[in-house]
C-alpha cells in the first residue's frame, strides 16, 4: 500500500496493521526519514515539502509494484508526508516484509533510494541564512543507479 498525507503516522501501529495475522513473515525492515535540525552546515528551523498530487501517488504505486515483483515480499508499505514539518518530525516510512531478511533489506533500500531520486517531492527549508530549496545530491543518484536493470530505462 502507499499513502501520501499531511498528518503524522504512528510507526508501531503501521507495523501492527502491516503484519496483521501473517505468520509467514520472518523479517520486517522499517525505514523512517526524519527532518534534521541541520542541513549542509546550516540550522534548519522549519521545512515545507511540496509535491505533485496525482503523479506522486502514481509513481509510488509503480515503484512499490516493481519492488514486489523483484523481491519475494509478503507486503510493502510507503507513507510519505507533505506540507510544513519541524525538525524531529517524521517525513517518510517504508516497510518491507519477507520470509528472509535479505529480500526485506534490499527491497527497502531500493524503495528509499528510488524515493530520493524519482518521487516528485521538493524540500524548502528555512535557515538563519534565509529560505532555500534543497538541492538534489549526486550521491542519491549514485545510490539509485545500483538498482538499474537493462530492461528499464531511466
Amino acid at each position: 500500500m502507499i499513502r501520501v498525507q499531511q498528518e503524522d503516522f504512528d510507526v508501531g501501529a503501521e507495523i501492527s496493521n502491516f503484519v496483521g495475522s501473517d505468520k509467514s513473515i520472518g523479517a520486517l525492515v522499517t525505514f523512517v526519514g526524519l527532518v534534521r535540525d541541520m542541513n549542509d552546515g546550516d540550522a534548519v528551523a522549519d521545512m515545507t515539502l511540496e509535491h505533485y498530487p496525482g503523479m506522486t501517488e502514481k509513481m509510488l504505486e509503480q515503484i512499490r509494484a516493481e519492488a514486489m515483483e523483484r523481491w519475494p515480499l509478503s507486503a510493502s508499505l510507503i507513507v510519505h508526508r507533505y506540507g510544513r514539518l519541524a525538525p524531529g518530525e517524521k517525513i517518510v516510512l517504508v516497510i518491507t516484509a519477507s520470509a528472509h531478511r535479505q529480500s526485506a533489506f534490499e527491497a527497502n533500500e531500493f524503495l528509499v533510494d528510488w524515493l530520493k531520486t524519482k518521487a516528485p517531492f521538493w524540500k524548502h527549508e528555512e535557515t538563519p541564512e534565509g529560505a532555500r530549496w534543497v538541492s538534489a545530491r549526486s550521491s542519491d543518484d549514485a545510490a539509485a543507479a545500483r538498482w538499474a536493470r537493462d530492461s528499464q530505462k531511466q
Partner: protein
C-alpha cells in the same frame, strides 16, 4: 495544454500552473521548452539550464524527444528532493 510548475521553477516563473494553446510547430518536449522560454524573461530564466529541468507528461517522466499535444498535462520541475 495544462502546464504545472513546481519548486523553484514555480517561484521563478511566478505561476503554479497555466493553460496554453500550442502553436502547430510544437510537437515534442524540447519544442515546448523552446517555446516557453520565449514567453517572457521569467520563463526564460527558470528554464534556462535544461540539465536541472525534469519533465512529466501526463504524470509520467518524459524525455526531451517525447511527443506532446494540447490534450496533455505537462509538469516542469527541478530534480526531486523527497524521501
Amino acid at each position: 495544454m495544462k502546464i504545472l510548475y513546481f519548486a523553484w521553477i514555480r517561484t521563478k516563473i511566478g505561476l503554479s500552473e497555466e493553460v496554453v494553446e500550442l502553436p502547430g510547430d510544437v510537437s515534442t518536449v524540447s519544442d515546448l521548452l523552446d517555446w516557453l522560454r520565449q514567453r517572457g524573461p521569467q520563463h526564460a530564466d527558470a528554464l534556462e539550464d535544461e540539465s536541472v529541468v525534469r519533465v512529466a507528461v501526463n504524470e509520467e517522466y518524459a524525455q526531451l524527444d517525447a511527443p506532446v499535444s494540447n490534450a496533455d498535462e505537462v509538469a516542469l520541475f527541478p530534480p526531486v528532493t523527497g524521501g
